[in-house]
Symmetry: C2
């Protein structure tokens, strides 16, 4: 198992785009590396899906309006395992995974937290697919058709998705006569935001939420620009100061070489690229993406950032200097290969990439793109008006950058939630650059933060492994204790109210 | 001032419909009697509007979707008085009245609570008009056009209205650099529900809510059928047992007379109707509506229920028995006139009537219509399938009876809100039949109930009068103390966070 995460990175195909204008296409906000479910070392989890039965719910297209089309329904997929459920009579809990930006079967395979703790809670386990992903696509269209149709994709929003979850949770509880069974919602990354928002918006349907790596403060300027890349920088600096310095110096060197007459072919040769490089930016974006992903998914026991830095610091750099060192980092993380750096041009984007691109351009206007001075990267501030132009060109609509904070809040979160709301765990790995937009400190007795110094993106809710370090084992145990506390109080209240 | 409320009742024109199938048209859920603003005795409040400046906000038509039409904007009206405001520098509060099912200028004239307490709080006062009422009608249409257009009226929903309020509150705070100014939202009746829901859904925009006569438990079977009419019955029984018994006996007597060959003309004669009665139901519906309104708006110092019962009990009933007594009740509440009982047929329905009719048939599926055995009325249970048919015939869409409780909650409110949410006052007058769907007991330290035994619909937030009984004066004082407590804690938190 030791190399499982490294092998993920090896499988990684960059989605970075060669030109700056397209950099918004990065679909970075996934709870796990896109290829994780293809990892042969994770086969043990794949078998988990056999506990689950697949259902489809006749979901309302548009919960918030009463136009004739609003009443259209579509089939939304959800999966249930009742293997460990204690049943409605004992008011046994229900764990619900709120799907994010991918087909739900991927999540069942990698988000182990619910399955692995279902037995001790005697919990029913449900995974609900997010509308427009997987098999849950409205209006009788394929995913591609729905994303191309300006009307159809218009119903693809987070508030509709939360209302979908509400309707399905209600339906399952009614069907199983499980009125008094407390529901705990779980999500990671975008779905982590959904989980925390679900507890805030639908407290009558979810007793509590575990929101893993949920960057709910990444909107509307709450988190200062540059936070994301400063965490990546910190990770590399902590791994090795010389490695950090080499990367920092490499950008100007790539620019210098690329600007020379034969520069691009020299760079292609140094980096043994599978195709000739079309620009220096192509190489730089590939490298930025590599470093970002290593930081975001900097999982134990191998820690990809250390792997890259091991390559960079250990390189025989006598001949080519900085660039050969950087290439050694690429080889270290990618493994031995006949060629490197496959540009994403021409590859088919995934549902996650396409779907998230739309979600970013409509409501999920996040500030994780901006690069400021305090990093190992070249400064590249986020330019809202460029972004708006890009979205307008792509979809004919402009983003609503203030909607997320208007609907869900975010500004002054500590002051707002100090005396409002309860039962949310915000867990963040501090090596994950998205932690810069996360809730890292306790807000109240029942809205608590679990930051882990060496943790990465969504690590706590991914399937446990025998190689997990003791701090990760402890973190999961603490989360379980908190959830048990919520449920214990809930049962006591229930008893008191019935007496 | 002594007769002001009585004179309102005199001005009252029944909106009851002559046949049972149309009984759903009752637009009873208004915070005040529809004619209140025409009352000459209330002229003192009318002058309040001169403090206010009118604004129009470019509001988004559809907050929850990203279809091309969703981006359409319309002008939404709101009124601001900064006469008493302490300003942004001192973080002085903002009182916001969330408009209900009528033009907002009506509310400014009768909801005195905000204006009358603005000085002591140094508060900015805002009244926001509900979309589709008054001057806030989307898509460039008139009210009538919008209500007739299946697409246009589809955007007429409570969730859109709350999001409108959120956008305007945010806009005003930004424009006035009032980031730290705490917002208290106030509403009565339907708008009272909106106020409580706004605090629950948008805690980042409202520190607290005063929800007057908000029947949030009148959905989805939470409140058992018949609650509404059993309160009306209780009111009359408390006023006079003989009066209650006379009314209880009158229905069979009307039926008996109406079924006779010359029955309708006899009834028309006994009740001195302005037009010949077309059916016994026409008379019965008029009387039901009269009793309901007397109970709902049973305001001191005259108390219309007592006025009606005074008429009934004091009648010289030697000749015509029960029916002459009932007629004496009509005369007592309506005053001397050449004729009585104007059927609503042929009169133009108000915006409130038309708008609320649509709101009831789409999402506000309330159970206040059902009459069970335990009342002074003839049993007439609410029949959901009849109601669905009626809505389908009227609008071509079917109601969503579970949506309100799915989105806002309602089931197990005590258990849900015991450890979630804060800063809501639920005030209810127990003579108001809508109190049967209200929150009448404290839920937590900060979600509190103020029921008043002799109180009527929304009485606490209507303009104060020198005739107000001491219990009403005390109630308002207590509400003010609670709100002061919220704001004091908020300022303390703000100070602590800034240090």
């Amino acid at each position: 198992m030791a190399l499982s995460w490294l092998s993920l990175i090896i499988l990684f195909i960059s989605s970075a785009s060669p030109v700056c204008a397209q950099k918004f296409d990065f679909p970075r906000l996934s709870l796990h590396h896109e290829k994780v479910f293809q990892d042969p070392d994770r086969r043990v989890q794949v078998s988990l899906i056999s506990h689950f039965k697949t259902f489809f719910f006749h979901q309302t297209l548009d919960h918030f309006n009463y136009r004739p089309e609003s009443y259209t329904t579509f089939k939304q997929r959800y999966l249930i395992s009742s293997k460990y459920w204690g049943g409605a009579n004992s008011s046994a809990p229900i764990f619900v995974y709120l799907g994010g930006e991918e087909p739900i079967d991927n999540d069942v395979n990698v988000v182990g937290f619910l399955n692995e703790n279902a037995a001790q809670f005697k919990a029913l386990v449900i995974y609900i697919e997010h509308r427009y992903y997987g098999k849950s696509i409205p209006l009788g269209m394929s995913f591609e058709e729905a994303l191309k149709d300006p009307n159809a994709r218009g119903y693809f929003s987070s508030s509709q998705a939360l209302a979908d979850y509400a309707a399905i949770i209600r339906h399952v509880k009614e069907k199983r006569k499980a009125k008094d069974c407390p529901v705990i919602v779980v999500g990671g990354s975008y779905a982590g935001m959904l989980a925390s928002w679900f507890r805030l918006k639908y407290p009558h349907l979810a007793l509590g939420a575990l929101a893993s790596s949920a960057p709910i403060l990444y909107f509307d300027g709450i988190t200062p620009q540059g936070g994301f890349f400063s965490v990546v920088t910190k990770d590399f600096k902590e791994a090795s100061k010389t490695c950090y310095q080499t990367i920092r110096d490499s950008w100007a060197e790539i620019d210098r070489v690329a600007s020379q007459p034969d520069g691009l072919s020299r760079l292609s040769k140094i980096f043994k690229t599978c195709r000739p490089l079309e620009s220096g930016d192509e190489l730089k974006n590939y490298l930025i993406d590599e470093y970002v992903r290593a930081a975001q998914y900097d999982v134990p026991p191998t820690y990809p950032v250390e792997v890259i830095c091991g390559g960079i610091d250990g390189a025989n750099a006598s001949k080519n200097g900085i660039l050969e060192k950087i290439f050694a980092g690429v080889v270290a993380i990618s493994g031995n290969s006949s060629c490197y750096i496959v540009s994403p041009n021409g590859t088919t984007p995934s549902q996650t990439q396409l779907g998230w691109r739309w979600q970013r351009c409509s409501e999920m206007v996040m500030g994780d793109e901006g690069i400021t001075n305090n990093s190992m990267f070249q400064p590249d501030p986020f330019n809202m008006s460029n972004f708006i132009d890009h979205c307008n060109r792509s979809y004919g609509v402009v983003p609503r950058p203030h909607w997320i904070t208007t609907y869900y809040g975010g500004h002054d979160t500590k002051q707002v939630l100090r005396r409002f709301g309860s039962n949310i765990i915000f867990s963040n790995g501090l090596r994950d650059p998205y932690s810069s937009g996360g809730v890292l400190k306790n807000i109240s007795d029942t809205i608590v933060a679990f930051p882990t110094r060496k943790g990465s993106h969504c690590l706590d809710i991914l399937s446990a492994s025998q190689d997990d370090p003791s701090w990760l084992v402890r973190q999961r145990k603490k989360e379980i204790e908190v959830i048990k506390g919520w449920i214990t109080k809930y049962y006591a209240d229930l008893l008191a109210l019935k007496q």
